[in-house]
Symmetry: C2
Subunit: 355 residues, 2 copies
């Protein structure tokens, strides 16, 4: 017997909620049941322009959506500074929680959120879409040969208006700035390549750029593991859209230049070298790296919603415990992010990761 | 009237000399006139197996080749610790000098070599081949939009025998280890992307690996410029063959994954994004990056020999002064390399570049 679909409510009408609304509509085990905004008018508009079904409910406050007994799960695309308050409330209202990243202002806040979810038996997952792309799973099998040295970056160029007015540069909204907005992905990609082992030491790179309010606009860091793995990453609002990961091991190398958002929705590629070398006169490579293309049945954000909804179905219908894999990865990402911030604050001194 | 070709002698029969012998044979303005080894037998074998013309001379000592009045220029593929002695002698013998990289153990030694070349009116150039590839020139036009953030790496995996016995891990031979052997290229690629402006500060990344004799096997560094340009690089004998440069600016990004030795000799590619962004729902990129292929008339090492021989012809036949462009780039590369080494020795503290 097929399980009935998980009924989603969305609190907040951020840009990213448009993409996730579509994903909920497309996911086979999810339905779009409600949207709430502090402005009812805004919620009405959002539902209308994002294909909500006619029976979907529109709320003029987040609280009223959370009190709706016909909502199973809440997608929360709110600014980072609001995460603790609303995530805890969502859990207390026994709603499962799909939340935007970065998950919190710091790991202590995230631990409070996770505790509330555990106490209330609800699933929590963050909205890092690329982790659910079939390419990521496929490419994963390479990590054993490609995790000695990792470089990752995610940057995009913003205009003066963004740098003055966007919520992502405001200390009272998305207070983590570029490291929360884009560095999050780079850090998680490194952890992914390191099979989720935490680094021992994190050292921010000199030259970080902060705005007058102390929000990070551009930074990087060098990470070291006890067993010799090393990584660097860079994130920025100040340079052109770029998202790379290069993972190099003893016997192979992987290259992706669109790891967070693939160039195209229908398919995604990666380049892999296995035991690469040179020809006899060192005038070319033997073997040549190979390019692999993964065809996509479902966009990555749909895969994410489906995965989340499956976990919720397992809890609702099969009495399963909430899955801890995803929040564990979120927490490790936040730990490293916190360490980079701490290293910047300490004048680029190394910071030990204490789990 | 066509100038007569430049007559090359080679001192030392290193592996790399095979590739350069072929390049001298293929270059339109160069001829392979002599080879010297400390072992006459080795020189005979080398000449035989590398297509030397029958009239080429074979010498059992470097000195005798340098005394040959029918040699215009010497290609010197000797270990780094021997560069100062032999490069100065080559200049004193009024031979033009094409030398392997790294150019010296440190910039003070290189300055002595350059001074000897200047005093004797001979051309000096280092053997960094990729700088002469037509792709490099073409791609160059991008630097203004792509030089805010640069990441470069060159690594290759070596076996236990290499790590024990190869000249590149020996303090009395190629004493600069991985940073001389492969880091040289990564550093020069960063300078290239920065239009040869020197960074202000160089900080080695924690986690450098040195052997018992203190030779670098694996290291990286973070570089900063006064005007906000930033770069990182990594070099290693301990991870799989990888050679990337990603240069990101405000309005564009360049990717190369084979910048030192192109995958194939006949053509070489690069990927460029100009003003990249996302589509409306952020489910793909618009515009997509474009891949550019440069067809090659001559392998890059032949372009290098041709360029060097042209400069020598200009001196010999037109009374031109030795060109200082190439040794200036070599010197800047060595300066940065020295700073990375100094930073490692100082426990990863930042080192200011003083030109």
């Amino acid at each position: 017997m097929a399980h009935s679909p998980i009924r989603f409510g969305i609190i907040g009408c951020a840009e990213i909620a448009r993409k996730v609304s579509r994903a909920i509509l497309l996911a086979p085990n999810a339905t779009l049941s409600a949207v709430a905004s502090r402005s009812l008018h805004k919620a009405v508009d959002f539902a209308k322009s994002n294909g909500f079904p006619p029976e979907a409910k529109i709320y003029g406050s987040y609280e009223s959506l959370l009190d709706d007994p016909d909502i199973d799960a809440v997608y929360m695309p709110l600014p980072t500074t609001l995460h603790l308050k609303w995530a805890v409330l969502i859990a207390q209202k026994k709603k499962h929680l799909l939340m935007e990243k970065p998950v919190a202002l710091n790991v202590a806040e995230f631990d409070e959120i996770v505790r509330a979810c555990e106490e209330n038996g609800v699933q929590i997952m963050d909205g890092t879409m690329w982790m659910h792309h079939p390419r990521t799973t496929k490419w994963r099998s390479f990590y054993k040969i490609s995790s000695a040295l990792v470089n990752s970056c995610f940057t995009f160029f913003t205009d003066p208006d963004f740098l003055k007015n966007n919520i992502r540069v405001k200390p009272d909204l998305d207070a983590l700035g570029a490291i929360g907005s884009v560095g999050w992905y780079a850090i998680m990609s490194i952890l992914w390549a390191a099979d989720y082992e935490l680094p021992k030491t994190v050292t921010a790179l000199r030259g970080a750029v902060l705005n007058e309010a102390g929000v990070i606009l551009d930074c990087g860091a060098s990470l070291q593991w006890e067993d010799g793995i090393k990584a660097t990453f860079h994130c920025s609002f100040l340079t052109s859209l770029t998202m790379n990961i290069t993972a190099t091991g003893t016997h192979g190398t992987l290259h992706l230049t669109d790891f967070v958002i693939p160039y195209q929705e229908q398919e995604a590629s990666y380049t892999a070298s296995t035991k690469p070398g040179f020809n006899e006169l060192v005038t070319g490579w033997e073997p040549l790296p190979s390019e692999h293309t993964v065809t996509v049945d479902m966009p990555q954000e749909v895969c994410m919603v489906r995965e989340f909804a499956t976990l919720v179905q397992n809890i609702k219908k099969k009495g399963a415990k909430p899955d801890m894999k995803w929040p564990t990865i979120s927490r490790k990402t936040q730990l490293v992010l916190d360490a980079v911030k701490a290293s910047i604050e300490k004048g680029f001194e190394p910071v030990e990761i204490v789990n």
